[in-house]
Subunit: 222 residues, 4 copies
DNA sequence: GATGAATGAGGTTTCATTCAT
DNA sequence: GATGAATGAAACCTCATTCAT
């Protein structure tokens, strides 16, 4: 489990409420201005509290960064399963997972970038925790892929994790190259194109047959 | 053309020599510790000069970052064409370009990351220059893809630039996820796997026929 | 009204208290060593606070200079009217104003010099404010002169402001040439001599008649 | 005699030539931007030489200031006697001396201000030398006053030096308050007014009689 | 629990001065 | 004699963090 961030406040409800406040403020500011450029005072001001108060809920500025990154990854871990809820068809689950991942990233592209940019500022313990969370959210994707393979829709993978990372980079790519993508494609087109590519690379004949019978498939590929 | 960085020194040879020194030192330090955490004194020390001297060749710390990023992108623009030199077969050129791109990234993964991490610290003029250089290096890839399409080896692309970015993210991916990839694949496997995926997604029957007749194809796919 | 100097502290009482502290310390040091030679740390040390604290009450070192100069000019604007309080005779008011001006200057000669020496370091807005304050304090003098003229004691002036400046330079002169004056005259002699000169230059017969009947005139002239 | 400024160059002619170059450049820059704000490089550039060369003719930056101030005072000592050359009438000599002093000051008001502003930066030896030169140039004025007194044109003075300083401050005043005077009087009006005041304060009946018979007196008073 | 004034370490940058060429 | 690259000390200013209220 993730390393606990120190707080001097006992009331757990309050701790959670305050931290959410700080994370919201800090996300915005870190995303816009970067971690080092953002000051504690700015975070405090935006959260509507005094600078001193932050240190009742957090030991260092790096802790705030950790909480922010944690909340980003928790977002993935929350939204993807929610979108898959009740879905049973492996191919549909896969496509939905990819789409949702992209959409979550696109909702706050700066937040995703943060993980690439500022992880270096964390303690090694925190860095490890973030990596664990990333691996956990990767599993949400790799499970979908695996199901497609076992259903015979995708050809067997030499290296499932590598395959998974292609999807991850596909989703993160929207944030990583946002400055350019926003000029040349819509998010929907992007998702459709990328899924199409992936399917062409992986689908078996059985997969295509199944696919052709799927409702709403037109959304994702022709 | 890129914005000139101010220098008070006239001797162009010397300017180039010194800046190379500084860029080498700064690349290493920025890569390891990040831009904000690295101090001018550290750069100076590692470059074996006094802190003051740096400011004879550069106006601000941000200028150093710009020079570093510039040198990274120049690396792409230098190495990829060099590797393609004398090659005529479109498919071979494509594969070589991808492979080389990955290898250049892998040679200094931190340098590639820098562009994602610290561009925010540049002046808007410098930011624009870096983006231009990235677009220029993308063209090295997109030209290869385009040649394969026109040769009938790849199916036509809806959006060539998007396709190009898949390759770019594939290459950068090695740096972006180095912490994990290094544990699960070798660079060669990575390149082979990724090219294989891409070919499966894009190749026409004509492409596969041509491919089977190629020497050394085993390097890239089965 | 003068441009407000930025502060991050809300408590106005505290701001005033701290600034007085800083102004006192800085006056002394600027006066003795000059503006550029004096460091923020020295000011802080002399004021008994940390260097950083100063920047909670002031945005730049130049702001401190501005506050110092402001306080000098406020001194004139405070002391001269106070000395004139309750006095009605124009000639007596004039002599008292001159004497008081000289005395205020003599109390802190370095402070008066500062205005001549370091105004160049101010922002143009601040420079303008200081000039305005000087013109305002000049008015204290010119009003006295004007009253003497209208009472028929002084002959009419071609250029009242020029006349006023003679008095101003007379008063400032004590500071400007302190290094020499201190060796050759006492402040009282200086004031008496200078007023005497001025009266000889300006007085009408009516003025002299009135003067001879004044009590305490011996203080100012024979 | 003034303290010699160190030089490593033997050729005296060259030393003089170079120093004149430096003084000209530095006067301008010190006058416009102040001593501390002006850099050696700026002086060198304006003098058309390398920064290093200055140190062959001068030991420190302060030495340059000393040379500049010295040249200002030498200007007084040169111009006033030149203007008096061949003049015999004491009153005319006095008026001419005052007028010339004002004109020299007005030709380079910044140079005069320099002495007030930056003397603090000199070594005590140099400071003393500058003071001596000022006293010497004062004598040019006090001699004129004294002659008028001995001729019976001026009433006897209690303190001749004080009287002299009134003239000095009158002349310097044009520089000290240039920012305002330039808006309200011409230099000629200023000189006329000030001399007029002085004469009214000092002249005897014999003086006035003599004065009325002087040619060109209208320039100075009515 | 909350505030915000106060601390002080440390970073970037400037610039007088030196010295090899 | 002249150059200008190089040095390095020191200045201003910022900001994470503490602590009395």
């Amino acid at each position: 489990m993730p390393p606990k961030v120190y707080t001097s406040v006992d009331d757990e409800k309050l701790v959670e409420k305050r931290r959410e406040q700080f994370v919201a403020a800090a996300s915005e500011l870190f995303g816009r201005n970067g971690f080092h450029t953002t000051t504690i005072k700015e975070i405090a001001q935006r959260a509507g509290v005094s600078a001193g108060l932050i240190y009742a809920y957090v030991k260092t500025k790096e802790d705030i960064l950790f909480l922010v990154l944690q909340s980003v990854l928790e977002g993935y871990a929350r939204e993807i399963p929610k979108a898959l809820e009740g879905m049973t068809d492996p191919l549909q689950r896969f496509c939905t997972a990819v789409r949702t991942y992209c959409e979550v990233v696109a909702a706050k592209p700066d937040a995703t970038l943060l993980a690439y940019r500022e992880t270096k500022s964390l303690s090694s313990e925190q860095k490890a925790a973030i990596k664990d969370m990333e691996l956990a959210s990767n599993r949400l994707i790799s499970d979908c892929i695996d199901a497609c393979i076992r259903a015979g829709y995708f050809r067997p993978a030499k290296n499932l994790e590598l395959l998974t990372y292609r999807i991850v980079l596909l989703a993160h790519g929207w944030a990583l190259k946002a400055w350019r993508f926003r000029e040349i494609v819509s998010l929907d087109e992007y998702i459709a194109e990328e899924i199409d590519m992936f399917l062409h690379a992986m689908m078996t004949d059985a997969g295509w047959n199944h696919f052709r019978g799927m409702p709403g498939r037109a959304v994702n590929t022709k």
